[in-house]
Symmetry: C2
Subunit: 261 residues, 2 copies
């Protein structure tokens, strides 16, 4: 469940509520991983929020160093989680700290076994196999405007971007997709989440939109020959802008409007 | 079988010979994919070489556009291959042309089923899940010196670099690894190949060296906080420089010298 950042935090907040419900509600054991953030208060703040929203138990596991990621007591706590929440901050702090450690392996295993894993902003970016580490703003793709890095690997054929319309990130998402048009681009607006189930069905939750870019039928790309700072020519991209209740099947690549509309 | 580029092409050339032998020698049906190259002569040149080296049959499949990658006659030819050779050129031409097409899917399926897949230079870079698209030279890692892109995905936890010592690429390989230290860096010198078998055992072939960088025990990295063009601090990397006959197990991460030394 990747979240586009800046999710509503008042009582009754839809996205955080949805995460608690998916994790089991009042019987949920929620673990918060604030590694992306440099603020000591981030973990405590989410603990308070999730308790107010009725989660059964909330634990903060503040992995700060790679050595922290081998602490047996924290790993055992993590294994008991019904839901894991990765906070925002810097996704490179997540990948450099957790990458290749028992924490990353546990998150993949838990998610595979049914534990809900959510992440907001940097926490969302980190969830896919190919993660946008950093990049530039702007609507048109340029060859050198985005830097990819290996992420956690919960989502294999998806490239995520967050704060999507708020920070004008269509260009960098298109550039990332153009490197290898094998996957689907998912641009998450703020206060908007993608709930992805076992069958690869993505459902939109929250107040903004999710922009889906599907390059499956792209017939031409100049990415391999474009100069570093020149715009890239891409022909045949399919785009969907989805709001709350709309769905997209990441496997069949079919979008459906919200039921009832 | 990734090759570091500029492999010997005289009669008896060790690396190309090894590829033909692994593909079945005089009964081998070899397919050459020259997509990375912009020279029309590249495919023909390798066809001549592989014939001289005794391959049973050699076919060139010059996929130039994404539409070419759906041609049934070429896909059927590809399905019959015992060995596939990806030439050098530009790895972004490979990923933008073949990525997400039936050709990429066929290469993964064939390799899984036992077909030898080799690539030289750009062809080698393209073979891993996380591919170095381009970058800068120099021995020290800097945060912005390398651009990764999704590759073909035959090798999951490996980042490859080629023309390794000839083009002073240690810095960019270290930068790529530092984004997420989950994998192993494999720096291939020119005229040097890594033969990787089903059990993830890598054996060095050729006249140069392969530099292995294993970040599994890295205790500190400043990648998440380093300024774009500043050097990155990395503590606890393990490095092996391996020559012909030496091995490295990509799963257990154990290096062994050539037998007899």
């Amino acid at each position: 469940m990747p979240v586009g950042g800046a999710e509503e935090k008042l009582p009754g907040a839809e996205i955080l509520n949805c995460f608690v419900a998916l994790s089991g509600g009042d019987s949920a054991n929620v673990v918060v991983i604030p590694t992306a953030s440099r603020l000591k208060s981030t973990g405590r703040r989410y603990r308070k929020l999730f308790r107010e929203l009725g989660a059964g138990e909330v634990h903060v596991l503040p992995f700060e160093t790679r050595e922290d990621c081998t602490r047996q007591d924290w790993l055992e706590e993590l294994e008991r989680a019904d839901g894991v929440f990765l906070t925002g901050g810097n996704q490179l702090r997540l990948s450099t700290t957790l990458g290749g450690t028992p924490v990353a392996a546990a998150l993949r295993r838990l998610n595979e076994a049914g534990t809900t894993v959510a992440g907001t902003s940097a926490g969302a970016a980190f969830m896919s196999e190919h993660m946008i580490a950093f990049g530039e703003e702007g609507p048109s793709p340029r060859a050198d405007m985005v830097t990819l890095a290996p992420g956690l690997g919960l989502l294999k054929k998806v490239i995520l971007d967050q704060h999507f319309r708020q920070r004008d990130r269509l260009g960098r998402l298109l550039a990332a997709l153009a490197y290898n048009p094998f996957g689907v681009g998912v641009g998450l607006d703020e206060d908007t989440a993608a709930v992805i189930d076992r069958d690869n069905l993505l459902t939109v939750v929250g107040s903004g939109a999710i922009t889906i870019v599907d390059p499956a039928d792209m017939s031409f790309s100049s990415m391999d020959s474009a100069k570093a700072d020149a715009p890239v020519c891409l022909i045949g991209l399919k785009v969907h802008v989805l709001v709350a209740g709309a769905t997209f099947n990441l496997f069949t690549r079919v979008a459906e409007p919200p039921t009832g509309l």
